[in-house]
Amino acid sequence: MLLKVDASSDVPLFAQIAASVRADAAAGRVRAGDRLPPAREVATAVGVNLHTVLRAYADLRDEGLLDLRRGRGAVLTDAAARLSDVRDEVAALVRTARDAGLSADALASLVKETWNDE
């Protein structure tokens, strides 16, 4: 599993970590049933506060992507598979958008607007 955080980015660190896990799940690099490393290990390796990682894991749990259990750690749920499906559709969308000459930011705004309409 690859975790990326950019200290210079405006996005909060915990959100970046959660996004990294989501991206890995969507790409199929981690699958339903896989266990994520312990929060302490992630914190040391990435160089962030333990609570930052715990916050990221908690958010993922609230989303339904992670199952946090005493003794078993953080395990990815079946939602990971659905995320992978969403990613495939996003890939197709990106190709269509590119053909139409849309930029990434333009597409993102369009997605946000449509989200509020649906």
Binding site: M1, L2, D6, A7, S9, P37, E41, A45, G47
Partner: protein
């Protein structure tokens, strides 16, 4: 032409590890069966250091034990070595396994048959002659057979697998990237180890229940050692970050670390533990050390000292290697 030579190593191994033991077993069992009517119903099967018989069993156990030892053990050896050989892996380890299989078979066949022969015409097993002459002959034959089997097999170097020049991951300035993965033994091995742990633990429990404190203590010590080994050497967590590569057993210890500054080059390639290291696990070989849990992709790292560190990776080794290469590039090149 190369295909012919490749099959040659496999064929010769099969001769040594399967065919020869089979022949030895059949011959010795046939001889033993012919001798059975002429030995006591209960025969001597164990001798003390002075050569006096002190362990006895029904005579029909002898042929069965012969099959188990003279054929069973070589077959087990073949089971661990043949898959690699047939895949094209080569090396001294395989030759040794073939020689060992033949030698063990010869030893078992000779011991079992020789000790039975010595008890022909006896009325009581306690009169069984000393086992020492048979032992000497048996080991002598085993060594001779082993040496023969070694030279019957060709000397071939392990295949140097294609080394993928790893393209370092592109890192944006200010970006901190970490890779988490694992290195564990393959499922058949995992099952075998689990079964072994259950068996020794069960045996310890049985010993405690039987009330024999000494036996129970020994059985418990064995169980503790086996389980400790299983837990510490069969599954590892792999981490690649700013500090370098860290391989830690799931039990916490042992732990192996290659600092960033110690890495000269990183290669991603297929690792064949049997041919390169003589087996699976934490292994040392000339010029290299490996945490090699299974045959498959892994990282081959050259350290400043010239020694290599090899680790098999369960997940995407290419990504792991790319990150390590990116993190260990001289700063000016990043």
């Amino acid at each position: 032409m190369t295909n012919d030579r490749a099959a040659h190593a496999v064929r010769q191994f099969v001769w040594c590890a399967i065919v020869a033991p089979l022949v030895l077993t059949i011959v010795s069992v046939a001889v033993q069966l012919a001798l059975l009517p002429r030995v006591p119903e209960t025969i001597a099967v164990h001798w003390d250091a002075a050569g006096v018989a002190n362990g006895f069993a029904p005579a029909w156990v002898q042929p069965l034990a012969t099959v188990a030892l003279a054929l069973g053990i070589p077959l087990l050896i073949a089971l661990t070595a043949l898959p690699g050989l047939r895949r094209g892996d080569r090396g001294g380890s395989y030759r040794f396994m073939g020689a060992l299989a033949s030698a063990v078979s010869a030893l078992a066949a000779l011991l079992m048959t020789g000790t039975l022969l010595g008890q022909v015409g006896l009325t009581s097993a306690e009169d069984a002659p000393s086992v020492v002459p048979v032992l000497i002959a048996g080991f002598g034959a085993a060594i001779a057979v082993g040496v023969l089997a070694w030279f019957v097999q060709p000397a071939e170097k392990p295949l140097r697998t294609e080394v993928d020049g790893v393209r370092p991951l592109a890192l944006a300035p200010g970006e901190r990237v970490v890779w988490f993965g694992s290195s564990t033994i393959a499922r058949p091995g995992l099952i075998a180890v689990t079964v072994a742990c259950l068996v020794v633990s069960g045996a310890a429990v049985v010993m405690w229940l039987s009330g024999d404190a000494v036996a129970a203590a020994i059985a418990t010590s064995v169980a503790v050692v086996v389980v400790a080994l299983a837990v510490t050497t069969t599954a590892f967590r792999v981490r690649i970050d700013d500090s370098g590569l860290t391989v830690t057993s799931v039990a916490g210890l042992p732990r192996f670390h290659v600092p960033t500054g110690d890495v000269v080059s990183v290669a991603v390639r297929d690792v064949t533990p049997m041919g390169e290291f003589g087996g699976w696990g934490m292994r040392s070989a000339p010029g290299r050390f490996g945490v090699v849990m299974r045959t498959g992709p892994g990282l081959d790292i050259e350290r400043r000292s010239g020694r290599r560190f090899v680790v098999t990776i369960d997940e995407d080794a290419v990504t792991a290697g790319a990150l390590l290469a990116a993190l260990t590039q001289p700063v000016g090149h990043r």
